[in-house]
Subunit: 780 residues, 2 copies
């Protein structure tokens, strides 16, 4: 830590902090909500919430009978209900709920329950009678739950995926039913219960309404599992429901953990519950349950989410050994005492309390959050911020304070200054003022870089003259005070837009006016999340005329922008919910601490996962600088020979284009592009350290190497207007532009999906619209 | 024609009418616009318009030199311009236009010219210098054309398709340049010059800017032609330009006509010009040019469009024998006299006048428009109308008049009545009133069906009692007058909503009040473009209680709705231009005379091109009718056991769902679903004619069989919010719902694209949003 930096952000000031587990109790055999005493016991035991069924066996039996009777009548008329072309016979009508059908009634406790929709309904059924009655039961239960004051409902997931016979139709029906559920329970939260993947021969089959049609075909064993069908179904449901913010996933943890790619996929989804059943546990000799390392790691990872998922322990304990095959043959009048159950310790039949204790123990096994992931930073997860307009607006002191609170960044700047000044000393480079290296900090703000430049000069023993150039009149006042109080009057402070600065004043006389010199080292911190998005190139072009030729240098000397297509359903939902009230929501490159995201592409030979879009180097060649001047003053016929409407093209040399190809192994959906940057602050010219660079980076694969723990920049997110679906073995072709006319800068981006069919045939499967931030362009 | 029908629409009243050809003159070797005298000659000769270049050889040579010089400089610095990561060297700047660069200046004539952008630019080039200069030239020429008063510009099409190396990037650059062109020329019309398909070894290569890089690789011969790459490119361009209504196609007619599927594809696009060059012509012995039958048929078909495409004769005539390989080596100071050229008749070197004469002759060879395609009907092509709300609104007389103006429909109704009454006579069926068949016309309007029923009774000699039931108080007045004036007081007119009608009054006494009888034949004309979309099922359910049991019949007795996915870029553009001002534009099932459309699916075994969605049959079973009553009065817990939020489900028996699979051979894009209907008015029960049906149909494949020339209904169009692209060998999975709560009816539709990869593997490639007309639902 450099001297004089006592007021910057110091990591590690917070006490160790671990995410808190919110644990729920679910018993699929329950026929009624817990009594008040039972509920109290559960809470005392350490549970945070419980589920309740909404109707009971009595109701279910009535519905099964209704469907059976109706199918029998239809059969007589030669209709088995499988045709979509409804004959005009009346489909069965669900009779109203009676007090015998439910044990749920309004009460103080019921408000805190999570309702579980009857798992025996089957809205996916290709049989129209069954799907119709299933929808009616669903609607009735939602309505009744809503009336009773329940706030969250778990919906049993779809019974079919699209790859099965009738699956597309079934899923369409299911998704549509969920959409209607959101309308009926217009203030409720809905969780669709999905497995992480569809396990073959998964036990715990529920006897759904479809069982009245006869034995359901056994699941195909032996066939290779398609790991992504469950995610496919979820993607279908939430797409039909237009990414409703009240729709969540209750994710069933599998017996065997799947590949990381699938775990990452779900990580990005709106997870609300993780449900764990007995099949996921293993047991030690005394019969105590535990989870595998893979399960533990997955839970630890998911718990890093800002909205930590809730854990729902399902059928865990001796009173809930899975669902029996025929739950209706058992009596459930008595809710088993948990205290009783807790006494027995039988191998593979641990008590509820054993499971709960294990999960609470797991809670304590979490690595404490690093200081950087403290509460403050965590709250920035996936939180959309509009980018700054540093040229057009004057920043507030608090904003500067946030920027200055990152020692990593300023340490790197100081290191770059030391490196550069060492060269002046060791190589005897010329200076623009006899015996003194002239340094200017362009856009000094409140002066942190001035401080670092002075420190570097002291460290290297090189005599310097430091100029602080700042356009913000308020920051200017602060700089003057700092100069008096901290810098000992050594700094020359100038209030001007850097592009209008004529350079350091060498001498001044009443006759000739001021004589301007040049700058040897120009230091600036104008980079944005995507490197050039806060107009660093334009600003540095504008001040380049003060740089000494040919030896003057810029810190930073170059910077690059980097891209990767990502799935980020939560951000998409967030942006969609702002639109169209916020008409530019989809046009804005958002600054956001990307967290619940999934990189949809893989690194393969020749294609990185995150790829470089373009680069800027400073200073630019003199000929280019002259060209700018010519365009600005010359003008062309018809108002512009530039690339853009009405522009003379004075800034065309700062336009960029890139075309990048990203390789995707699995199918998925892309919601936009994540953007990062890297910058070489200074590259050493010394023989001893030739090519050694002082760098900063937000590139996820490189930040730890180059500027570990640097928090000054969050990534940038370029959204697509519509999620773009792509099949397995696809390539995403990304075209991106940095566009500019004479007054502003903006970005445009276009994503196309191409799929490999065979070895040599690649075909187009979809495309985004051409997206543009022109409406929210950065003003020069 | 039935008696008493003299005031109905009579086809054939119009004089034969053929589409008029609008013919233009284009010479790609021109270096300047025609002089006033030349222009006058062209107009006198029979041309309607001419093209002009915007700049000349002088300008082109300057630009070529600029690029060459710049590339040479770059080469020295090791940069050949192929990298996207622009080194900060300045790219070349296009100097302003000088009077030596152009011969176009503002004048009265110039306003009428179509400008032709320099065909030597190459915005697709992967070389950033060439693409940058090309964009600058494009922008400069647009700006200058705009200044001079030109209103239409032809843009040379992209030089690369996406399948070529660098093609995706090149096309992205090209499309983006066109988007900017639309911004720069904000009141201009732009035509992208596209070939119908990319012919291998197509001659007439233009020497573009890219030629400065060295010889361009020859087009691959032998390789199988992909017929759809040109359309792909166009689809890319207009998608990036968001279906701008000022963007059109100038379609180059090929030497050899392609398959009909491709011709149909282009038929649906916004064609503005058809350009014909010498390669498309064949020559007879004396050397006169003509077009093949295939060419002629294509032109005849395209000319049926409401906006008939303009024909641009390109390089036709001895003064324009194609473009020479090096146009800059020839001098074009003198515009060749057309009169001169017309004198020469050389084989394969016909004069401009020969070509023009041939095309004018072709104009007269067109089959005159059928009377039904008269000016009036043509103007309805692809014109979006909001569907009627016949239950909620009272129709105006003029609307009735339009409906009544279709003899085909009423002839079929009369035939159905005759058939039904014959049965009463021959089978001795019971009647609800002694010796008299009671007929009610539900929703009589101004009485056309009453007239037909009376005619049928006279024809069959069956005694009838006719009731006219009408809710519209204004139409009621007219009915009373008709009864006096035309029907001789034979008709009993009742003013009431049919659903509230108690039935024909048998007798009435002061003590007992009226005694109501029943109806034997219930006639109605409540069908909409999609059969049930104007609530025919709901209305007929509501009046069914007056029908005699069990022998009472409904005319129509059943009806079916039919669907097909279509490409209709013009309608999509139209709807998009209304949105979001018209917030429900994409939610509305539009009634529209679909014309410039392309059916994207094919008929294959097991899958029709147009498929049935569902059916309604009348009367509905008594048990269903009782069910409705029960639901309406009974009510259920929580406000609804129906399928929909808040509904008791009283109309659930009229909800429908279908899932249909359409097979697409070639890749394409779907913009929505076309809807049609069929109805069986009556199916004979007579032994002699058992199963014989009187039908009406708007199904394109069946209308001619069932109700030829019926014009009462236009099809319906269910739009998608986003065009859905699909690859070759795809299947479109369409889910469609007729949804209903207790007060209204609406539709929902969802289209998913699945592609076959190999024999047994079908994968999802894309999906539409779930679309719904709930916001513009039909009120019951």
């Amino acid at each position: 830590m450099a001297p004089g930096e006592s007021d910057v952000f110091i990591p590690g000031e917070f006490a160790p902090h671990r995410p808190i587990f919110h644990i729920g109790y679910h018993n699929s055999e329950r026929n009624a909500p817990p009594t008040d005493i039972q509920y109290g016991n559960l809470l005392n035991q350490g549970f945070n919430f419980v589920t309740t069924p909404l109707t009971n066996d009595h109701f279910r039996e009535r519905v099964f009978r209704l469907v059976q009777d109706h199918l029998a009548i239809l059969k007589d008329s030669g209709d088995d209900g499988s045709s979509n072309f409804t004959t005009p016979g009346a489909d069965p009508i669900l009779p109203p709920l009676t007090p015998q059908d439910t044990s749920v009634f309004p009460s103080a406790a019921v408000n805190t329950y999570t309702g579980y929709i009857s798992p025996w309904i089957d809205p996916c059924s290709p049989n129209r009678i069954i799907s119709s009655i299933s929808r009616q039961v669903l609607n009735l239960e939602i309505n009744y739950a809503n009336f009773c004051g329940i706030r969250s409902l778990i919906l049993p997931g779809p019974t079919r995926d699209a790859s099965k016979d009738g699956g597309i139709q079934g899923l369409a029906q299911y998704s549509r039913a969920v959409q209607e559920a959101l309308t009926i329970g217009s203030r409720l939260t809905f969780l669709v219960h999905m497995p992480m993947y569809r396990e073959p021969l998964a036990g715990l089959e529920v006897r759904t309404l479809s069982s009245v049609l006869g034995a359901t075909p056994p699941r195909e064993a032996g066939k290779e599992i398609d790991l992504y069908t469950a995610w496919d179904s979820w993607n279908h449901i939430r797409s039909v429901c237009d990414y409703d913010m009240r729709l969540f996933v209750a994710l069933r943890i599998p017996k065997v953990m799947p590949e990381m790619a699938l775990q990452n996929r779900w990580f990005a989804e709106p997870l609300h519950y993780l449900t764990i059943g007995p099949e996921s546990f293993q047991f030690n000799k005394p019969g105590y349950p535990s989870l595998s390392k893979h399960h533990q790691n997955m839970i630890f990872t998911y718990m890093r989410l800002k909205n930590t998922p809730w854990l729902l322990l399902s059928d865990l304990g001796s009173d809930g050994q899975g669902t029996s095959e025929q739950p209706d043959t058992k009596s459930h009048d008595q809710f088993p005492s948990l205290a009783e159950a807790g006494d027995k310790v039988v191998k593979r039949s641990a008590s509820t309390n054993d499971y709960l204790s294990y999960v609470r123990w797991l809670e304590m096994q979490q690595t404490p959050l690093p200081a950087l992931e403290s509460n403050t930073l965590t709250s920035f997860q996936d939180w959309l911020q509009s980018p700054l307009q540093p040229l057009a607006d004057n920043l507030e002191s608090a904003t500067y304070e946030v920027f200055e609170g990152d020692p990593v960044k300023y340490n790197q700047y100081e290191a770059a200054c030391i490196e550069a000044l060492s060269e002046w000393k060791e190589l005897g480079k010329p200076t623009s003022k006899e015996g003194v290296v002239v340094i200017a900090v362009a856009g000094s703000g409140r002066g942190p870089l001035v401080t670092r430049a002075l420190t570097a000069a002291e460290f290297t023993g090189v005599p310097v003259e430091v100029w602080a150039v700042e356009k913000n009149p308020n920051a200017y006042v602060y700089l003057l005070r700092q100069n008096e109080a901290i810098w000992g009057g050594r700094v020359k402070v100038v209030k001007t837009d850097m592009r209008a600065w004529k350079g350091p004043v060498l001498s001044e006389s009443p006759e000739t006016g001021p004589v301007y010199g040049k700058v040897d080292i120009l230091i600036s911190e104008l980079l944005g999340s995507f490197a050039d998005n806060e107009l660093s190139p334009e600003c540095l072009d504008g001040i380049q005329h003060v740089m000494a030729k040919p030896h003057g240098i810029s810190i930073p000397s170059s910077y690059t922008a980097h891209l990767s297509p990502i799935a980020t359903p939560k951000l998409y939902a967030d942006i969609l919910s702002r639109y169209p009230t916020e008409s530019t929501a989809f046009d804005t490159p958002w600054v956001v601490r990307l967290f619940a995201i999934d990189f949809v592409s893989q690194r393969v030979p020749g294609h990185e996962q995150i790829q470089q879009a373009w680069e800027f180097v400073h200073p630019i060649p003199e000929s280019t600088l002259k060209g700018i001047e010519a365009r600005r003053s010359g003008g062309v016929v018809g108002g512009g020979g530039g690339s853009m409407a009405g522009a003379a093209g004075a800034n065309d040399h700062n336009s960029r284009f890139c075309h990048l190809t990203f390789v995707c192994r699995t199918r998925g959906v892309v919601h936009g592009l994540a953007g990062y940057f890297e910058s070489t602050l200074y590259e050493s010219q010394l023989a001893s350290a030739k090519g050694q660079k002082v760098e900063i980076s937000t590139h996820p694969e490189r930040i730890d190497d180059k500027s570990k723990d640097m928090i000054s920049w969050f990534p940038i997110f370029f959204p697509l207007k519509q999620p773009l679906y792509f099949p397995a073995d696809s390539e995403l072709e990304v075209s991106m532009w940095r566009q500019t006319d004479d007054t502003k800068v903006w970005y445009e981006w276009l994503v196309e999906a191409w799929m490999w069919v065979g070895e040599s045939n690649r075909i187009k499967v979809g495309s985004s619209a051409l997206c543009t931030s022109r409406k929210v362009a950065c003003l020069m």
